[in-house]
């Protein structure tokens, strides 16, 4: 067997192998994504909880106003 034939065989095996790995890895990636429903449910619940809250969570209150409120 000459060098080109050996290299050709290596490339053939590698190409088929990597395509199979590619399909397998894609399947694994999709499976992993599907296996996160619990997190999604938690996020949805959190989403419902915060849906009625203002977008900016930390409201800015001027110091002077806070002091006045405390004095009252």
């Amino acid at each position: 067997m000459d060098l080109v034939s050996i290299l050709a065989t290596v490339i053939l095996v590698t190409t088929i192998g990597t395509m199979v790995i590619g399909i397998g890895a894609y399947g694994a990636f999709k499976l992993r994504d599907k296996r996160k429903p619990k997190k999604k449910i938690v996020d949805d619940l959190q989403g419902e909880k915060v849906a009625n809250e203002p977008i900016f969570l930390k409201r800015y209150v001027p110091e002077a106003a806070t002091d006045a409120a405390n004095e009252v």
Binding site: S5, I11, T14, T15, I21, A25, Y26, Q46
Partner: protein, 451 residues
């Protein structure tokens, strides 16, 4: 089912009916000739694929030749401009405009402090940092606030809001920014110290609406990240530089893009309807006639996925996002006169996004079949060799231009040997899923804090 989806299925059914009709005609023809239909069909399919792959190879060589040529022209232009005595407006420190750096952060607790501290070291006299905490569930806000409070020279503002995605966070940054220019980046990026000075000088030209920066991989720790490092170097030093010379930069990268605030507002900021909001925004700007410059010396160092599944997740999102953005502006695909350069930009994006991965996969299947069926595996080797030679030549050129580590050239061989085969499979599936309109989620990558 939406009308658009129905029309896609109608097209697909028409194509299948067309192919079946051709096959039926050939079958009758083969019977009339008293030959073997199977052999005839195999010959036709193999011949068609051979011609198609030859055409694809021609396009590929043309693409490499054009990109390398224009990239080199852009390089020469850069060198020439560097030697000229400049009379730029944005040269004197006292005249430099204010720039707002917008850092969207969602669960970036591991990296946010390092990211902000690196921003405080930038060489520029007039800028502010805006950290937009996009409703993180970790300690991103607290950590960002800690750095903001210990800082008194450069204004650092931290704004927290309900989680609504990166696009919304960047829009929030745009609405509260005080600067005339806005630099949008990722929460996990690190910028080179010259970034602001290097980018802002492009705005001397009033036709420039935005500047795209250079992106490099910081975590070169295993073969996946090293190949990605080469991919980034090639993508920017060759493709982006060539696009810059042609005034046709088609993506302002998420990790580093500087905009005129007025232009950002004019195009309505980032939209929420694609998963590649940076590509969509760039296309919106191009459609309005703005030019986009590329600044190779402004560098954003980013962390890339080091595992295969995370890498596929990223590429899957990129592929679908770019297809969504292209589809959104698809009217330019059919109006060459009205769209001008945008017509070519969109077709080029479709070539890279759809035709390239499908064709390389088709080539592999075709040559593997011929190799197994007829013992002609040498053909597959030659197919692989010619693509690898193209990759190695491009890699060597880019490494020299970017003054990168020469060891990266070696990864051009491994890139073609296994990496791109795996990625292309994912891209093809992503394209099919996008065509079918499957639902998808954002899929934020987990950060390891390598900055």
């Amino acid at each position: 089912m939406e009308l658009k989806q129905v029309s896609r299925y109608v097209w697909a059914i028409t194509a299948v009916v067309g192919v079946v009709s051709v096959m039926a005609y050939l079958y009758n023809h083969a019977r009339a000739m008293q030959g073997s239909f199977t052999v005839l069909l195999e010959n036709i399919v193999l011949a068609t694929m051979s011609y198609y792959l030859l055409f694809f190879l021609f396009l590929l060589i043309l693409r490499y030749a054009i990109l390398i040529f224009y990239s080199f022209m852009d390089h020469l232009e850069g060198l020439y401009k560097g030697r000229q005595k400049t009379t730029a407006i944005y040269q004197d420190d006292s005249l430099l405009p204010m720039i707002s750096l917008v850092v969207p952060a969602y669960n970036e607790g591991v990296v946010i402090q390092a990211a902000i501290r690196s921003l405080l070291m930038l060489d520029y006299p007039n800028y502010e940092i805006l950290v937009i905490d996009d409703g993180s569930t970790d300690d991103t806000y607290e950590k960002a606030m800690a750095v903001a409070q210990e800082q008194d020279k450069i204004p650092v503002r931290v704004i927290t809001k309900r989680n609504a995605g990166k696009a919304e966070a960047l829009n929030t940054g745009m609405s509260v920014a005080r600067g005339e220019f806005i630099l949008n980046m990722d929460g996990d990026s690190k910028l080179s110290s010259n970034t602001l000075r290097a980018c802002v000088r492009h705005f001397d030209d009033p036709s420039i609406g935005a500047v795209a920066g250079n992106v490099k991989v910081i975590n070169r720790e295993n073969i996946w990240s090293k190949i990605q490092a080469l991919e980034y170097v090639e993508g920017l030093a060759m493709a982006r530089k060539a696009q810059s010379f042609m005034r046709a930069v088609n993506i302002i990268p998420g990790p580093l893009g500087m905009f005129r605030k007025s232009v950002l507002k004019q195009v309505g900021g980032y939209d929420h309807d694609t998963f590649a909001e940076d590509c969509d925004l760039t296309l919106k700007m191009l459609m309005r006639g703005w030019h986009i410059a590329y600044e190779p010396t402004a560098i954003a160092w980013v962390e890339t996925p080091t595992g295969l599944l995370n890498l596929l997740k990223q590429r899957y999102r990129w592929t679908r996002g770019i297809l969504q953005a292209t589809n959104k502006h698809s009217q330019a695909l059919w109006q060459p006169r009205k769209s001008g350069l945008n017509f070519y930009i969109l077709w080029y994006m479709l070539f890279e996004g759809i035709m390239w991965p499908f064709s390389t996969l088709l080539g592999n299947i075709f040559f593997a079949y011929v190799g197994i069926q007829y013992g002609l595996s040498t053909l597959l080797f030659l197919w692989w060799l010619q693509l690898t030679v193209l990759d190695v030549v491009a890699a060597a050129y880019c490494v020299v231009i970017e003054e990168e580590d020469p060891a990266l050239i070696f990864y051009a061989v491994t890139f073609r040997l296994f990496y791109i085969n795996i990625i292309d499979v994912s891209k093809v599936f992503a394209t099919i899923e996008e065509w079918r309109g499957n639902a998808m989620t954002w899929g934020k990558l987990d950060r390891e804090g390598k900055l």
